[in-house]
């Protein structure tokens, strides 16, 4: 991790570094301690941490400014029926390490801080999460629907949005008219 130079735009090596994930996880644990609800290594180069939604900005600022995770790959919102999860996949271009940061959001108050101040890439991802899952990102410059029409009333990826009731295959014995 010591080789990381923040601010240099051109990545020279772009090669995977062995056992970097333990180093990053150790750094995160040292910096945040008990604020990390969960932290584990998924596979070489990949780790997952779980935090509360209030700690999102400090954790992501630490990841970006201090240890050079400069690429926000993806923002996923998951409806767990009793809570929401907002999962951020953040990647380091120098050593190929990827952190999956999961933030818990209570169901009745789906709000979380926006990351657009750190990564501009968060802009569209957060708009998509708002559009499809109805999570409000505080501080987002332009939080409006992106994929669905502006006058759409629902957030369709929530589990209570209507979906085929019987998900099993229904045997269709009835012969349809043909030739």
């Amino acid at each position: 991790m010591s080789t990381v130079v923040r601010g240099a735009p051109v990545v020279v090596s772009g090669r995977p570094v062995p056992s970097v994930e333990k180093e990053v996880l150790g750094g995160l644990k040292a910096a945040f301690g008990a604020k990390l609800l969960d932290g584990k290594v998924l596979r070489p180069g990949h780790l997952a941490v779980t935090i509360d939604r209030d700690d999102l900005i400090p954790v992501c600022t630490y990841l970006q400014k201090t240890i050079g995770f400069e690429h926000l790959s993806c923002i996923t919102a998951v409806d767990w029926k009793d809570r929401f999860d907002c999962t951020y996949h953040i990647e380091n271009y120098y050593n190929g390490c990827m952190v999956q940061v999961t933030a818990h959001i209570p169901y009745d108050d789906p709000k979380i801080k926006s990351l657009t101040g750190l990564w501009n890439a968060a802009n569209y991802h957060e708009r998509e999460a708002w559009d499809l899952m109805g999570i409000e990102f505080e501080g987002h410059p332009n939080l409006e629907r992106i994929l669905l029409p502006q006058d759409f009333k629902f957030h369709p990826l929530r589990k209570d949005f209507a979906q085929e009731v019987d998900r099993q295959y229904i045997t269709r014995r009835k012969l349809r008219g043909g030739k």
Binding site: Q168, Y169, T171, R172, R173, L175, R176, G177, G178, K179
Partner: protein, 279 residues
């Protein structure tokens, strides 16, 4: 092995005259290269490699997924293909047959005789994706795809292919019976819930269910419960689907062997389209 870096990669300056003439010459050369008569004069001249389609058909590889063709000797009507179909475009048609019919599968001959019906798949080609899942999971290798690709028709109703139309010619079938559980699951019974209605026994396409004496029901009357012969079970879930009280569920078998486990098209020698042009 490093790839050679061409000189064109760097930002080399291109002159106005040369940068206009050279592309023009290259285009004209490509135009003449297959022009009849002139192609002999141009270096690299050749005949066109295109096919005159309605008169000249290409030889498609064996892996090509064209029209469905179902081996009626092998098909046991388990409806597994309809369940793995992503678009649910497979429908089952019922045919009344004589008890002596050769299409009655030996494994369920007795039961079929009772019902005197066989069921065979029909496909709505207008919805079909030609993904090949039906063939892949077919437990008896009855599904096949031919190289026939001209399936377009004038009316939407004509795209519904009846089971009769998809029947494979008799002489193409090897009539060999295989039963492979390609779905990797088999049913498990919850004895307390079962009411002994025998629906699963009647529905099972491979007749792997035997009804044995079971415990008494709530009123103290003895009932029968199904016992599964898992060597014959193909994991088609028909028993689960017909069960009126949901006492069956599917569970993983958990094997991971498998070379040639799935039924897929044979792949012999193949030919590029380009090679098929008459020189």
């Amino acid at each position: 092995m490093k790839s050679p870096r061409s000189a064109a990669e760097s930002r080399k300056k291109v002159g106005t005259v040369g940068g206009t003439i050279r592309p023009l010459m290259a285009t004209i050369k490509q135009t003449l290269i297959t022009m009849p008569g002139i192609n002999r004069l141009v270096p690299g001249g050749r005949k066109p490699v295109t096919h005159l389609y309605p008169y000249q058909k290409v030889e498609l590889p064996l892996a090509y997924r064209g029209q469905h063709s179902i081996d009626w000797f092998k098909c046991i009507g388990c409806e597994l293909c309809a369940k793995v179909c992503p678009n649910e475009c497979i429908y089952f048609e019922f045919y009344e047959v004589e008890p002596t019919s050769e299409y009655l599968h030996p494994s369920r001959a007795q039961l079929d005789e009772m019902k005197k019906t066989i069921r065979r798949p029909a496909v709505d080609v207008g919805h079909c994706l030609f993904c090949g899942n039906c063939m892949e999971y077919c437990p008896t290798d009855a599904w096949n795809f031919t190289q026939e690709f001209e399936l377009a028709d004038y009316a939407r109703e004509d795209l519904y292919y009846r089971a009769d139309e998809l029947r494979m010619p008799k002489e193409n079938s090897d009539k060999e019976i295989v039963l492979i559980n390609r779905i990797g699951e088999h049913p498990i019974l919850e004895v307390d819930v079962c009411i002994g209605c025998r629906k699963c026994e009647r529905e099972c396409p491979t007749r792997c269910i035997d009804m044995l004496d079971g415990p008494n029901d709530r009123k103290g009357k003895p009932i029968v419960i199904p016992e599964f012969d898992y060597t014959k079970c193909i994991g088609c879930q028909q028993c689960v689907d017909v069960c009126p009280v949901d006492c069956l569920h599917m569970e993983e078998i958990g094997y991971k062997d498998l070379e040639g486990f799935y039924h897929i098209n044979l792949q012999g020698e193949v030919k590029l389209l380009e090679e098929q042009v008459e020189k």
